[in-house]
Symmetry: C2
Subunit: 276 residues, 2 copies
């Protein structure tokens, strides 16, 4: 990777698609104005995170929402992790994130692998009723860094980050719509711990809470470095916050606390062999 500036954007996603797209545009324009080269948008950035609405708002990868983001990436010369949309592909629907390069090219597509089927007292949802899962996290070489993309619940699964580690990922972008309940309990802890364990920069963008929604998100979009230090954090409103990622931080942390070098793959093979 090389040094570069990055932003994460959040806003209270509403039922009005065009309003959401205007807010996405404002976030990207602010990023570009601040000198960012990579901008991350929230999970479900053009329709509220509500199971009952997802399919009706689905688009293809060439639909109006992603076309608008693609055009902005090109106009502003930004690499953009286009949060996620509900994608329709033939008869199937996915929670899908697209990475656009600064020329507007599609650098990669991630379809959420782990669907959010939970029965918490305050959060009951079953994505698998309306969505199909993807099969593998996205790893893509951008002009800035080797980038990994995972969506929200994917973050809960260490295997996703072990896959990123194996692929040599340096920066992970996470569009995510944690709820008030899980966000309060786990958001900072999980994201900081992933950055520390796998010695990566991590940028997570979530929708700001919208009290009108049946699913109230947490906000607090953030950027964290491989030591677990919060470089930037939004509150709960419409905000785009940024940080400069310095390649030397990653090199230094991996040298001083060589967790990756200290993995004992020789032992782990025995621990996890079919026969043990």
């Amino acid at each position: 990777m090389r040094d570069f500036r990055l932003t994460v954007g959040q806003w209270p996603v509403s039922d009005e698609r065009d309003e959401n797209l205007r807010r996405a545009e404002a976030s990207l324009r602010q990023g570009a104005a601040e000198g960012a080269e990579l901008c991350v948008l929230p999970e479900m950035f053009q329709t509220p995170y509500e199971l009952g609405k997802m399919r009706a708002r689905a688009e293809s990868l060439e639909g109006p929402s992603l076309s608008a983001i693609r055009q902005l990436a090109s106009e502003l010369s930004l690499t953009v992790v286009a949060g996620s949309i509900c994608e329709q592909r033939d008869k199937d629907f996915f929670n899908t994130s697209v990475v656009f390069g600064p020329d507007g090219a599609v650098l990669g597509v991630h379809r959420k692998v782990h669907l959010f089927d939970v029965q918490l007292e305050t959060v009951r949802t079953q994505e698998s009723l309306v969505l199909s899962p993807g099969e593998v996290p996205l790893v893509v070489d951008t002009p800035l860094c080797r980038l990994g993309v995972a969506i929200c619940y994917d973050t809960r699964f260490p295997a996703v980050f072990q896959f990123f580690e194996k692929a040599g990922v340096e920066v992970v972008a996470i569009p995510a719509a944690f709820s008030q309940t899980t966000g309060t309990a786990h958001w900072h802890c999980l994201l900081r711990s992933r950055a520390v364990d796998y010695q990566i920069f991590l940028a997570a963008a979530g929708p700001a809470p919208n009290a009108d929604s049946s699913y109230v998100t947490y906000g607090h979009s953030l950027v964290v470095d491989p030591w677990g230090t919060l470089l930037a954090e939004a509150g709960t409103g419409e905000e785009t916050v940024g940080a400069k990622l310095e390649a030397e931080t990653l090199t230094r942390v991996r040298r001083e606390l060589p967790l990756i070098a200290h993995r004992r793959a020789d032992l782990y093979r025995d621990w996890f062999s079919e026969n043990s």
Copy 2:
């Protein structure tokens, strides 16, 4: 597992072995008096965590330090995770934790697998100069729960917890001597995140900071539940703190947020196959 009470004990470990053993005894007696059935002692509980002193203070598993703890376990009818000592076995030295049952029987032995070789600005140490590594984390069935034991730096390695998960572990005990630097940056975050990710209770016991030592530890021994909630936490002095672990919490968290059930082992096989 069944419901039971647990304590973690910490004190500023000094050069005086017998003083350390008196403090260990006080911690176990306090645990027993409070109705605890499992008591966890700190890493290197009978000699300060200093590379230069470890070998000189080494004992066998039948040496005076562990014999004293064994006798107390039996007298007080406690299951005890006897922190760790520097163990000498023939010509080799290990950072070793022993689990005693309430009848004084040795239930299991863990030798630290991941040796702490780091070059942080404020923490430079190389355990591998004086210690040999163990080969596998300990999993042991106690009368209370299926217990996993890992020591300090082992905690940094997700594979250790994936091994515990595979073995059906419910409670993990971690004798640990994090430094001021790494403790301030990572102690709460890492320990809470491990409990949340692997849906376990976790009890970590570290020596209280001793300003006279060349390696100043962090203290803050703690107990956390599978939702990441801190059930008990010590400060930086000589303290034994406890919490009741309720089996229903573990069952409920695993039911409501079924992370373990949601692992996609079918996909992970492909992600990590030798050919991919």
